[in-house]
């Protein structure tokens, strides 16, 4: 009994000491960053702390919606977050973001012009692009002998049970809309019904609707083709040289993750300092090199391996992107997408 009691007491003491220690470091100014999991080279944070004497508190989230709940509900005080395109649009609409003072972000000049003033932030007052990419088809050249340049190949019966689709409603419905020649952001119920029929028609051919495990499945050649994000495609191609990536000619989804300052921020200037730091050439290069996604930073891109710079997967030509669209916030209409996707999955 006494032994248990003593150990308990000792543990309590240790715990309270540790607690007290975390309390101490509050003196330094802090900056609270909320980012996607595993989406930064963490040594960059240490560099920022050393350079500016600001302590970085770093948290991560898994989906835009997780982040949105945390910021919308209040009770948190993040200074910088990294939402995707449609979520930025929604947060601007709901007045959750501070306008960024671009005088404090001189490095913004390095961001490629084609990635400024995009639909989700049309006058570019709220966001600084961090990473971008496309959605396309990755295929195994030893298993697929047709040219992959159209979404139609995902409906080709020759490849029955060798096709992997994304288990993500906006992406799967989006590419089907594109296949049928509609907009990714359609608000037309008839178009969605057509998509539903297409997806149901395709369902017997699909091996599985997958998430992140698509990478392992394609690398180990369990399927012939899959719908993937370009950033993951670069990694897969590197792991298995038989893989090739294509953006279908009908167009696809072009996505962005950008840095924003939520209204919860208590020190906007430090947040701007951080965004500017993240947009400096060597830091942007470090992050791109670690993550392997495509950077919108002109100078950082030049520092990458020649192989990667010329890789059409990561940096497609502007012709390839001609028909691509960025997701828009669908607000209430999203329930229709929910319904269509549920009906497809339930079949």
């Amino acid at each position: 009994m006494t032994k248990v009691f003593k150990t308990t007491l000792a543990l309590l003491l240790v715990a309270s000491i540790i607690l007290a220690m975390t309390g101490c470091s509050e003196g330094k100014p802090t900056l609270k960053v909320y980012n996607w999991g595993d989406y930064i080279d963490e040594s960059v944070l240490v560099e920022f702390e050393e350079e500016y004497g600001i302590r970085v508190i770093y948290d991560t989230y898994a989906t835009n919606e997780d982040m949105y709940i945390k910021i919308k509900a209040g009770g948190s005080d993040y200074d910088v977050a990294f939402p995707s395109d449609y979520m930025i649009e929604r947060m601007i609409k709901e007045d959750l973001l501070h306008e960024i003072d671009f005088n404090n972000i001189p490095n913004f000049k390095y961001i490629s012009e084609e990635f400024k003033n995009l639909d989700y932030d049309s006058s570019n007052n709220y966001s600084v692009p961090y990473m971008w990419g496309t959605v396309g088809i990755i295929y195994n050249t030893t298993m697929v002998d047709d040219t992959v340049d159209s979404w139609d190949i995902l409906w080709n019966e020759k490849y029955a049970n060798q096709i992997l689709m994304l288990d993500s409603q906006r992406d799967s419905i989006g590419i089907t809309l594109k296949k049928l020649g509609y907009s990714l952001n359609t608000r037309d119920v008839n178009e969605l019904e057509a998509v539903k029929d297409e997806l149901i028609k395709q369902k017997p051919l699909v091996l599985a609707y997958v998430g992140d495990d698509v990478k392992d499945k394609m690398i180990s050649e369990e399927a012939a083709m899959a719908v993937v994000w370009s950033g993951d495609a670069v990694y897969m191609k590197w792991q298995n040289p038989n893989l090739e990536y294509a953006i279908p000619k009908e167009g696809s989804n072009l996505w962005f993750d950008a840095m924003v300052i939520p209204k919860t921020s208590k020190n906007k200037e430090n947040a701007e300092l951080f965004i500017n730091f993240m947009t400096s050439t060597d830091i942007a290069f470090k992050n791109t090199d670690y993550i392997g996604y495509s950077t919108p930073h002109v100078e950082a891109r030049k520092l990458l391996d020649d192989e990667l710079i010329n890789d059409k997967t990561a940096y497609p030509s502007s012709e390839d992107l001609a028909n691509c669209e960025v997701f828009k916030d669908l607000s209430d209409f999203l329930t229709e997408y929910d319904r269509v996707w549920t009906e497809v999955k339930a079949r």
Binding site: M1, V4, T8, L11, L12, A15, I18, L19, T22, T30, K32, Y34, W36, G37, D38, Y39, E42, L45, V46, I57, Y58, D59, T60, Y61, A62, T63, D66, A73, G74, G75, S76, D77, Y78, G211, D212, K215, D216, K217, M218, I219, S220, Q239, N240, I291
Partner: protein, 260 residues
């Protein structure tokens, strides 16, 4: 004879299905490649990187400190509550017990959101304190539920005998009741500790900037793929728990032989 083989096979299958996933995880924590699709040779690099990873380390620290603190505090409160409930009259007792069962049956997500709204309403900044309070809250019922049966088994007359022999009520509580119900208290503590260790839903809603536990950190890696560092971390945690169990079992069997 055949029966014997079937029995063995059955036991083997049960343990196989229970432990195969953990074995796979342990094996892949030594894989050179980041992908589970290919095996590029043995390495310890994920273990080294694990200890360099500031985010995972801080998540581990918060997970452990919240688990230790919340289970200790919940054990203290829960045990006291159980003793109180045990001495209640029938109607009051069943009412309080129902109130205790409610949070256990309540879906985590309801508890989580309710706590978050409460904290925001009370203007407590979400962070370590709110996370700890939330964990204590959902741990208490489990402690009560594991201590109460021990109290029911307890012979009421022992306590009265102690008082008759001149012990003050608090002395009798410490020297008679608590040692008698100790197994229940320890079960409750361990249960609370494990529940706190792997809680995701409630933690997600009640934690604030800068404080996140392992389940939140691991979940947030979902989009980019679980890093093998997590395999390494899970391996370490699994082996630690295994060693603890072996030590406890050893000590218990030693104690038993001494008694005999």
């Amino acid at each position: 004879m055949v029966m014997k083989h079937i029995k063995k096979l059955y036991a083997f299958l049960i343990f196989f299905f229970l432990y195969a996933p953990i074995m796979v995880l342990i094996i892949f924590s030594f894989n050179e490649s980041k992908s589970r699709g290919s095996w590029d040779g043995l390495t310890l690099k994920w273990y080294i990187e694990l200890f360099k990873d500031r985010q995972i380390m801080s998540a581990m620290y918060y997970t452990l400190s919240v688990a230790i603190l919340s289970s200790l505090i919940a054990t203290a409160i829960g045990t006291a509550a159980a003793i109180g409930i045990d001495n209640m009259k029938r109607f009051k007792k069943s009412m309080i017990m129902n109130l205790t069962y409610l949070p256990v049956l309540n879906p985590d997500i309801v508890t989580g959101i309710a706590l978050m709204l409460l904290f925001i309403f009370m203007r407590i900044r979400l962070g370590f304190l709110t996370l700890l309070l939330a964990h204590i809250t959902f741990n208490i019922p489990y402690v009560i539920i594991s201590v109460l049966p021990k109290l029911k088994q307890l012979n009421k007359h022992i306590y009265e005998a102690a008082l008759d022999l001149g012990a003050s009520p608090s002395y009798a509580l410490r020297k008679v009741i608590i040692p008698e119900i100790m197994p229940g208290i320890i079960t409750g503590f361990l249960l609370a500790f494990t529940l706190s260790l792997d809680d995701f839903v409630i933690s997600f809603f009640t934690t604030g900037s800068g404080v996140s536990n392992l389940s939140i950190t691991i979940y947030s890696m979902a989009r980019r793929g679980i890093n093998p560092k997590i395999n390494a971390l899970s391996t370490i945690m699994f082996i630690t728990v295994l060693l603890l169990l072996i030590i406890i079992n050893n000590r218990m069997s030693k104690n038993n032989t001494i008694k005999e």
